[in-house]
């Protein structure tokens, strides 16, 4: 046995040395030398499932004569873990805003060659300087949305859009076992922070503790913490108020007037979904061309028509279904827009968010 232990130790040492050496290579990838419309192989796309109209992908393949190999991930964090470990051999990923910030800081993304993406000029000026990626140096937004409340208005009537619907004992407390919160530390803690009048990006321990206390108290009437079937559970009558993402609710509600989506008056999360190119992308030029393709106004509109999330493309409006365009639940009015805010990476405080949220639920 002794020999095998020695062998194992040697292999361990080798592995760790290799790991240590490998890490240098990823620091600050240089921009790719690509021009608009250039392709350098098939596109490897790591995407959310059922997010993009499949015809968009098919059209891209037809126009540029490349294939798109598409794989799917259920959450940003899983994608990140694979990329960090060096096991995601893809060109383009689709991170949400806060994830762009994390990946950018860690040099996991390729700086965009703007000349290869002329359509980047189509991005609405509201989105050209987001806090997570000022000046859009690493990412382009293609959809945005809000995190708010899905409400069963048939049962509750016209309610005041407020976080009181899920946190106030006087309001939510009357609906025991009928409230659903997201199983997401940042979103649910963020909602509690807003209800208390704090910033959702607070790094103040006392404020975070207060938010955790709110969630703990809400445990009494919270049926579940769930990030996947909240719309299902609302429609099937399992819960009457649910925290979730705008487009999913609207897609699930369809023409059903018994349900409504509201953005609480205390403010809510504004988020974007973005395309970014991995620093290790095997086909960076095809990737740039894909980004440019998605930023065409017609494609931006197709995305919105498919999934009911608004488009950050300034010129997409003319191709979007008028019905969607006029729906205030999809496109919030200016006053609501004022109250929306991005969730930002809080560095070490992320652990505190996760920890307090875990404790608050137990």
């Amino acid at each position: 046995m002794r020999t095998s232990i020695r062998t194992a130790a040697a292999i361990a040492a080798l592995t760790l040395t290799a790991a240590a050496c490998g890490d240098d290579s990823s620091a600050g990838a240089p921009a790719a030398d690509c021009v608009a419309g250039q392709t350098d192989g098939d596109l490897l796309l790591y995407n959310w499932n059922d997010y993009m109209d499949p015809d968009i992908i098919a059209d891209f393949e037809a126009e540029f004569g490349v294939s798109v190999v598409e794989d799917f991930y259920p959450e940003n964090e899983e994608m990140l873990a694979r990329v960090v470990a060096g096991g995601a051999q893809y060109d383009v990923v689709v991170p949400s805003d806060y994830m762009i910030e994390i990946m950018r800081e860690d040099d996991l993304l390729l700086p965009l060659t703007r000349s290869a993406i002329p359509n980047i000029a189509n991005v609405d000026e509201d989105f050209t300087d987001p806090p997570y990626d000022p000046g859009l140096l690493f990412s382009v937004p293609f959809l945005w949305g809000t995190t708010g409340l899905g409400v069963n208005v048939e049962l509750l009537g016209d309610v005041e859009p407020s976080w009181a619907l899920v946190f106030d004992p006087e309001v939510a407390g009357q609906l025991p076992g009928r409230i659903l919160l997201l199983d997401d530390a940042r979103e649910t803690m963020g909602a509690a922070l807003r209800w208390l009048g704090f910033s959702p990006n607070s790094t103040d321990e006392a404020e975070l503790q207060a938010a955790a206390d709110v969630i703990e108290a809400a445990g009494e009437w919270t049926a579940a913490y769930n990030s996947d079937l909240y719309a299902d559970l609302l429609i099937s009558g399992e819960v009457v108020v649910a925290l979730g993402y705008s487009g999913n609710f609207l897609d699930a509600f369809g023409d059903d007037e018994r349900f409504a989506y509201v953005v609480p008056k205390e403010g809510a999360t504004l988020w974007t979904d973005n395309l970014a190119i991995l620093a290790t992308a095997p086909h960076p030029c095809t990737a740039h061309t894909f980004l440019d393709f998605i930023l065409r106004p017609e494609q931006g509109a197709r995305l919105t028509n498919y999934i009911y999330y608004p488009s950050p493309n300034a010129f997409a409006a003319e191709f979007i279904d008028p019905e969607i365009l006029e729906d205030p639940a999809v496109y919030p009015d200016a006053e609501t827009l004022e109250r929306l805010q991005f969730l930002q990476d809080t560095g070490e405080t992320e652990i505190l968010f996760t920890d307090l949220f875990t404790r608050a639920r137990s």
């Binding site: 361990a12 873990a81 579940a224 404790r359």
Partner: protein, 289 residues
């Protein structure tokens, strides 16, 4: 050294050689595909999380292990332990008579029944769990059935009951398969002999069948208990994530908290404790049965 002991030593050596030879492919595979990768996890457990959620190896320390003493961790562990034990006991109570019944059918019926046990599990885990969600829902058939029986206002979904039900459903085959394999093997003339002596069926069962199927009981309990202890998808989907189980706590360290050192330390601790417990159970558990 006499010739006979020399021969014996030769025989022992030959047996050792043959044993090693037969085990070698599995040993080699597990060493390369498991033991070596495991060293990486152990290495991570001594690292520290950087601000961006990477792991820093420049200062190796035990800080991640110190966090294991957190009361939150202990609470989560004891809760998961409770669910896993309950699941194992129910699986054993339901699974033993079931496996016994299975093992006493004709070979042909047995094969069919065995496959029928496994068949539901060749669909898709998530879809099965969602099906349970519909069944347990407040408007679902089970609540309606209870309502028709005069039991109103029952909440099934998102309760501890739903969690245990989901776990038992998911792991029952893990209990039935080794039990079946062990019971089917029992030489039935022994039972006959016992019956001749004791006459009581229960007595014969306790004296012969149960001790002889011990290996199946042990293997089955381990195969149910361990995965149930680390289960997280079922408790999340059917329990509504209202309580944190060990499995999801570990997942959260690796994913949302991006604290790989702590996630690794947790895993290493789980491995060490469970390995000791399993080995002890295998060595002594049999006798107490």
């Amino acid at each position: 050294m006499s010739t006979s002991t020399g021969l014996e030593q030769d025989a022992v050596r030959a047996e050792a050689r043959r044993g090693l030879l037969i085990g070698l492919p599995a040993i080699a595979t597990l060493t390369v595909l498991f033991a070596i990768p495991l060293i990486i996890v152990v290495a991570y457990s001594f690292g520290t999380r950087t601000r961006t959620g990477r792991t820093d190896f420049s200062t190796l320390d035990l800080s991640a292990y110190q966090r294991l003493a957190d009361p939150l961790v202990l609470e989560i562990v004891s809760r998961s332990l409770g669910y896993a034990l309950l699941t194992t006991v129910i699986c054993l109570i339901v699974g033993y008579p079931f496996a016994y019944h299975l093992a006493t059918r004709t070979p042909r019926v047995r094969a069919v029944l065995l496959v029928l046990v496994m068949l539901p599990f060749w669909s898709n885990f998530l879809v099965r769990t969602y099906a349970w969600r519909v069944l347990l829902g407040s408007d679902g058939p089970l609540v309606r059935l209870l309502g028709a029986l005069g039991i109103d206002d029952v909440v099934l979904l998102f309760t501890p009951f739903a969690i245990v039900l989901g776990l038992v459903y998911g792991f029952l085959p893990f209990m039935v398969l080794p039990l079946y394999a062990a019971i089917e093997r029992i030489d039935h003339t022994l039972i006959e002999a016992a019956r001749d002596l004791h006459a009581s069926g229960w007595g014969a069962f306790r004296a012969v069948t149960l001790p002889l199927s011990r290996s199946g009981v042990i293997a089955g309990s381990v195969l149910v208990f361990i995965p149930a202890f680390g289960a997280y998808v079922t408790p999340e989907l059917l329990g509504g994530s209202r309580t944190t189980m060990l499995g999801s706590y570990v997942v959260r360290q690796f994913l949302s908290a991006r604290d790989w050192p702590f996630g690794s330390a947790l895993s290493v601790a789980i491995l060490a404790v469970m390995l000791l417990a399993t080995t002890a159970y295998f060595r002594t558990g049999g006798r107490s049965l």
